[in-house]
Symmetry: D3
């Protein structure tokens, strides 16, 4: 690719992908609503409010691929979610439609299925059970991706990201951990595939504990390499086990299932 756009590039995952995905394109265009620091030679930095249609249109213009990490990345008042995640998603797909339909890697979330129990095993065709407004907004984004694919042929890799951190942090993440390296190798498969379509892919490493069946995405040839199980002993030694009757032990969404609906400010 000549120019790859990463939205939300100042966020936790975005900062890492700014490094790891650089080999995928000549130029990285990085956007966020907050400060992105200093641009390297191969970087373009854009401050952009995703809820602003015209700004998003300019942001997407000239890009050959998009890693869409932007928007609210957790529970928030509905007005903020509607602005950044719902209007933001619409703005992104309209901009892509106007500018040659660059392939999109869309950051969805395990919180689309957060109300399934941790002892349930399923693939991505199961009906969603979002665990809050954030999860609902991610379901909305998935439906937009599907509709733009069916209607206009826009390709998207919908990635339901588990827990994307340096390493797993508690017992639940022994199943949900998604290493940075596996995220990057997935992105490489997504942008190199001759034909992508609009698959839903579980963004999760090759962990011993596993809730999700990713076989329907096997056609991409992606095989995650990391395994949260290597951190099991360390976590059992350092993190108190969760109350077995708490949401952290019961539901895939963990604490999100217990969060309130936040009031608008």
């Amino acid at each position: 690719m000549h120019r790859l756009l990463i939205t939300g590039a100042a966020g936790g995952i975005g900062r890492v992908m700014r490094e790891k995905l650089a080999p995928l394109a000549t130029i990285l265009r990085l956007s966020d609503i907050t400060d992105l620091g200093t641009a390297a030679d191969h970087e373009e930095l854009v401050t952009c409010d995703l809820g602003d249609k015209a700004s998003v249109d300019r942001l997407v213009d000239g890009c050959d691929g998009i890693v869409h990490l932007g928007g609210m990345s957790g529970e928030a008042p509905f007005s903020k979610i509607m602005h950044a995640n719902i209007a933001g998603c619409y703005n992104l797909y309209e901009a892509a439609r106007a500018h040659g339909q660059p392939r999109i890697l869309l950051a969805s979330s395990l919180h689309t299925v957060g109300f399934y129990r941790q002892d349930e095993y399923f693939d991505a065709t199961i009906p969603p059970r979002p665990d809050g407004l954030y999860g609902v907004s991610k379901c909305f984004a998935e439906m937009m991706a599907q509709m733009y694919f069916d209607k206009f042929g826009q390709e998207t890799a919908v990635v339901r990201i588990g827990s994307c951190f340096e390493h797993p942090r508690d017992q639940r993440m022994l199943a949900t951990w998604f290493s940075y390296g596996d995220f990057a190798s997935l992105a490489e498969c997504v942008f190199k595939a001759p034909r992508l379509g609009c698959p839903i892919i579980w963004g999760v490493s090759n962990n011993d504990a596993c809730w999700w069946d990713n076989r329907k995405a096997n056609f991409l040839g992606w095989r995650p390499k990391d395994n949260a199980g290597e951190y099991r002993a360390h976590i059992e030694a350092t993190v108190p086990p969760p109350d077995p009757n708490s949401a952290s032990a019961l539901y895939q969404g963990g604490p999100f299932t217990e969060k309130p609906i936040y009031e608008d400010e």
Copy 2:
């Protein structure tokens, strides 16, 4: 029920349900953004913009059940859909949560699955394939219903309405027709059930031609009585058959699958 709220009561279905559902409650509270005419003795008329949170809160206060027909009922610019269907849906669920969680019958739509072909047969657990922004907004509403059920116990009957008219109007409606009488008998089952949960129900009559498996909703004891097949000869005699390669013959969503994304005004 003492007081049943019908939103969108000035619309095509709303005007009929205003008559047919009157026996279900002592008082019907009817709302719309347009004129509702004159109130009968058992009626309360409320002009309400569903996108206004405070208005919706007042509207729901005091109701024991809600038939939510309001919002944009077809393809529209995204700003209108976001206002009436997305913010409107959030406002409704928040109002219900604040006022005792009255049971909700939510008008969803076949346009949540409009991009499936007409020769496909499935039940409501199949992944959605919405056929436009309207369809996506209905998927959003379904996800809100599921999340409020899982998180707060709010009960909703999600009804994916087919083609709800006096009688079927073309070949596609031989499969999608939902008679007014069957809608009313479904509403009665929904509000009388000792326990409802959050089922998705295909809103369709007992037509000879059938694309949707409703058996997972059999627990409600609802059996539609009307059959579009009785209009088949009439339609074949009076309506030109669709081009077999057109969206009307190919997709369940029919012409919706061909509609553009409307520009905001």
Copy 3:
């Protein structure tokens, strides 16, 4: 058939089947542990403790078919269930094996799946979720039937009886009611089928409300005729609706799911 054995013939269902199934055989042999009254000309009355192996052997000798209604028909101390339902079942199958393998209609129960929710719909291949010791004993009997079929070719119609009464008695029975007439017509199909195998059949009438998929038993050609829905208005008028959070409204097994483990006397 020349001689049809009905065990448990003094029980609620047994007394009715004593009349209704008389046309199926020249002689009815009727057994129970309690008084069976006076024998009609075509009847043989036998007092029999099913837990006594030798007695059961004599009971089965000479019979061409068996309707096995005997044993504890509800929750009881485990010693009683083990004696009548578990040892009793073993005794029956061993007696059948010794005496020409007469076809058996085995009264199983909805309480084999009592812990599924009332809004779940499934067929008989779903894993059992019994709601008490009685339900577990019925699962045991089903497994015995399957094993004697696989190992020895013994044919059994496993009938998971819903609520077999004169008419439905409460809201739950709008889904579970099994009319006496439908039971009798099922028994006729079972004993007339050229080949039976070992199917599990939901013993339930053609009710508007329906939790169970009986299609895998369609090969028998049995179509129940009665419909609990005809009693809906009467029940809604005369029976208080269940607390929606009670077991009666939540689980298919209804109150059985709340019963304790009874102490042995």
Copy 4:
């Protein structure tokens, strides 16, 4: 339709359809390898060996629809089956491709699944288990239909005919009977559908006993009316029941499963 071709029109089903399908077209073109009697005014009679490519090409030229009943209709030496059913099928599809792709109703057979047991219930997506060379040739024809649909858009209704006679003749046909009237009403649905695709449809009446799930063909709006169950008492009274261990009682294909491979003459 202007001209409907019926192949195999001198056979058992063909003679009846010659009468019943006349209303579907202005002209019936009737073909067989044996004598077809005298042509009525609306009929064209053609003697044709289906294994002869040029003859089939002429036969199909000018037709708007085809009911393909021709070929060997039961077990036969392989040379005959290869000539009439395999080469014949290829010739028919090539002729259709050359002459405007008239819609085809293809007579397939229950003998494509003859080795399933009579107590199994399934839909048409189950892997075939043909019961002889005839059944294999019907599987071949089904595959040809599917391939010509995928590759060229040729539409075919694959009808797996059960037992198509005046009335059911034995216990097995209580499940497999396909009345002439139901065949004719199915043909009407097939040729009137705005869009057909390439469905597999179980050609069976609305019998009490039922082995096959036809719901995937519901989109056609066809509802069979006849019921072999009305003949049950008559059959039980007049036809000796089959040996329960015989193929007639065990397998869906009945006696076909026991037929040898016939030697070529």
Copy 5:
């Protein structure tokens, strides 16, 4: 855990687990009906007849976890199976209920599904097909576990043990072998899981040949390490291949499917 109970500790698997599971608890309480030898410092030895309710109650008192290997471990007269496996199982669950519901690892068996063919592949939701009275008693125990979980929240890991020996002994065990090491690592996962529920787990190593899908238990994070395939050449060289028409080659339960019903002594 402070105190882990192992029943059947004098049996083939019990003797090995006495060593391998010692690290899981401060104290091992070991029970059997036969001699257990000499207690080590961390061991408590209890002679116990599982069919005696009071004895089992005392046995379980004070334990934090139970590995239930006790009872008849193969085909036996029904009186013995009823005493040790059926009454024994009831006694164990009642004792657990009385004493704080310690987590249970229940030794079930492949003989719950012994009548499936060796070329069938399935997960643990398939309906059981036990191959004898022993297999039926294990189905009974599984149903008890499920019922105590649904009714009282008692957690059990139901482990369907394949062939648990030092190494595989014949061709069938190339698929069924369960190494001692893999048993022990499974037990560790079972007792360390923050929340267990009541899963059914195939107790089988990571063998090249595999009949059972264990993915629904993936949430435990257990990955078996041993592979019977490493013994394939040795077995092929030293063990005569089974008659392909014998039960050993045909059924998953192997020779158990051919065993008679043993007479009571």
Copy 6:
């Protein structure tokens, strides 16, 4: 085995298997319609037209196993396919029936499912969608194998060969590649299995990209070792990527889906 027959031994796969399968039998009988070169000491060379029944009968006489690679191995005029693949298949199965039913490894093809998309994932029970006459002839052969198994007990391993070459040659083969070594190890498993039945096995290596679920064949204990993914970088560097809208990128059958029906010469 004493004598293993390989048909099509002069073809691309045949020449390699002539070497690799030699250890499986004392004598290799090799047949083809073209020149087979010089026989080694352990080889018997036979020129044979598979469409000639008597020749095939002599060919099979005395063999203990058959690897059937013969016939047209790609799209061809129907007369050739009918001769070599259809009559040839019938001749082979009749010869096997006459000569002790030696086990058969039948070379089927991915072209039985060539019209599925490359982003679909399924197992071998999915309905075929052949991509041409060649694919249809392979479906025919599969049905023959199933019928001879059901009717006569003839065992066949149906192997749907992907792309069997020295190494993968383009992007599509990253998913379809079947290494020679994995073919040979599969053949060894097939002929050593105590009991084979009639499974359908995907003939594909352990590639990172994967469209087919082979778990139903796990009972054979075969685990492919090679991985086309190791050639990914090389292919991406040397082979131009396919047009994403071409058959090569869209369908599993790749270019076969675009081939015409060849005219007979």
